[in-house]
């Protein structure tokens, strides 16, 4: 019996490298 009857929605994730870039720009933005 399938435990989860509903198909789940795939949450798209940025890659670790993309997250790093986002993080760097955040840090640059902050005073």
């Amino acid at each position: 019996t399938p435990v989860c009857p509903r198909p789940r929605v795939l949450l798209k994730a940025p890659t670790l490298a993309e997250m790093e870039e986002m993080n760097i720009s955040e840090e640059e933005d902050s005073p």
Partner: protein, 393 residues
């Protein structure tokens, strides 16, 4: 006045509810705040379970933004703490263990059959219902690789200064070298006797690393990989120094090295790590030590050496033979003609011309799936974590 009615554990669903505006406080208190890595009374992997139970609640609410935001803040928080305290073995070991546990939770409760084989029926009820977090699992796996590499750099920095002294210079077998008066030798009990590390210092350091990793609940398969990497570093640094120092190439040093290697093997046996592949990484060093001890005169000796030293390159074998220095009247210098014979015998080997081992080499790491039998609904959050703003659901 509200009355706090205690609930039975079976009433909990293994989720943790928090307000969106408390997300940063959650990350701050759980990841960036107190040094949980140095706490001894926590359930191993507790931060990972807490974060996963928060993800479960956001998934239950079908709030994709809340899930995404928590996962991003968690990953950035872990990276931040490792940037701040990334040279502390306990911190790095703790977050490697927790990142892996978090990754295992995301698999164990993903709803994918392959990851549910060992789940109890109750655990199956706790699977994520709305979101497939496979892409975030990949990001966490990449993060775990980064943390693993950081852990290797940290332990390398700690071990590096001990290796030459403990594995090569310090003599624990009394009276074999014939060069130093034995009565003047230092005691071997202290970790750094006048700046000198002994084999005992190395063993104690290995014990310390191992105990920290166990305390943090690091996956046993991952501990094996860390230990294999540590042994590789010890073997490579020792061999490289032996290949550069004439005073380390004698019969008695061969004896000392073999004794030291046997102690390291004993340590592996004691920790039940003989199947980690760690011992095999010492093979080039073991063979170099044997090479220092075998007879090096006849054609038969040459043949024996060539078949014995299959983990050493021709350049390394020839170098050891060239550096070999008799320290007493029972030993003889290796004749140039013998070295020529060895070179002739090995000319078809086509091995690399490199003399030194790459001591910075890191074996590829894997994180085999390791589901937990812990029931999420039983997990309680110690007040000391300062997470009073989240509630069990």
């Amino acid at each position: 006045r509200p009355v706090n009615i205690p609930r039975k554990e079976k009433d909990f669903q293994g989720m943790l509810e928090y307000k969106k505006e408390d997300e940063q406080k959650l990350v701050k208190n759980l990841i960036l705040g107190k040094q949980l890595s140095h706490s001894v009374n926590l359930i191993p992997g507790l931060p990972a379970y807490i974060l996963f139970m928060c993800v479960r609640h956001a998934d239950y609410l079908n709030d994709d933004q809340k899930v995404r935001s928590l996962l991003t803040s968690t990953i950035n928080g872990i990276k931040k703490v490792l940037k701040k305290r990334g040279d502390d073995f306990e911190t790095v070991s703790f977050w490697l263990s927790n990142t892996c546990r978090f990754l295992h939770c995301l698999k164990q409760y993903s709803g994918e059959e392959g990851f549910m084989k060992h789940n109890t029926p109750r655990q199956n009820e706790h699977c994520l219902t709305n979101f497939d977090l496979a892409e975030y699992r990949q990001v966490l796996s990449d993060l775990a690789i980064q943390i693993y590499q950081q852990l290797v750099r940290v332990l390398e920095n700690i071990l590096q200064p001990m290796i030459v002294s403990g594995m090569l210079e310090h003599e624990t077998i009394q009276g074999v070298s014939g060069v130093k008066p034995t009565g003047l030798r230092k005691r071997t009990s202290s970790i750094a006797d006048e700046g000198t590390y002994t084999l005992d210092s190395i063993i104690r350091q290995l014990n310390s690393f191992h105990s920290v990793m166990c305390q943090h609940g690091m996956d046993p398969e991952l501990i094996k990989q860390v230990v294999k990497q540590m042994f590789y570093i010890i073997g490579a640094v020792t061999l490289n120094n032996l290949l550069l120092r004439k005073d380390m190439c004698s019969w008695s040093k061969g004896m000392q090295i073999r004794y030291n290697v046997s102690q390291l093997e004993e340590w592996l046996r004691d920790k039940n790590l003989m199947n980690s592949g760690a011992k095999e990484t010492l093979e080039p060093l073991i063979q170099a030590a044997q090479l220092l001890q075998v007879k090096k005169k006849t054609d038969e000796d040459a043949e024996a050496i060539c078949s014995m030293c299959n983990a050493l390159t021709t350049a390394q074998i020839v170098k050891v033979l060239n550096l070999y220095t008799p320290v007493n009247e029972f030993e003889e210098r290796v004749l140039v003609s013998f070295i020529r014979t060895i070179q002739m015998r090995l000319r078809d080997r086509k091995d690399s011309p490199q003399l030194l081992m790459d001591a910075k080499h890191i074996f590829p790491v894997t994180f085999p799936f390791n589901p937990s039998s812990l029931a999420l609904e039983t997990i309680q959050i110690p007040a000391s974590l300062g997470l009073g703003f989240i509630s069990r659901v």
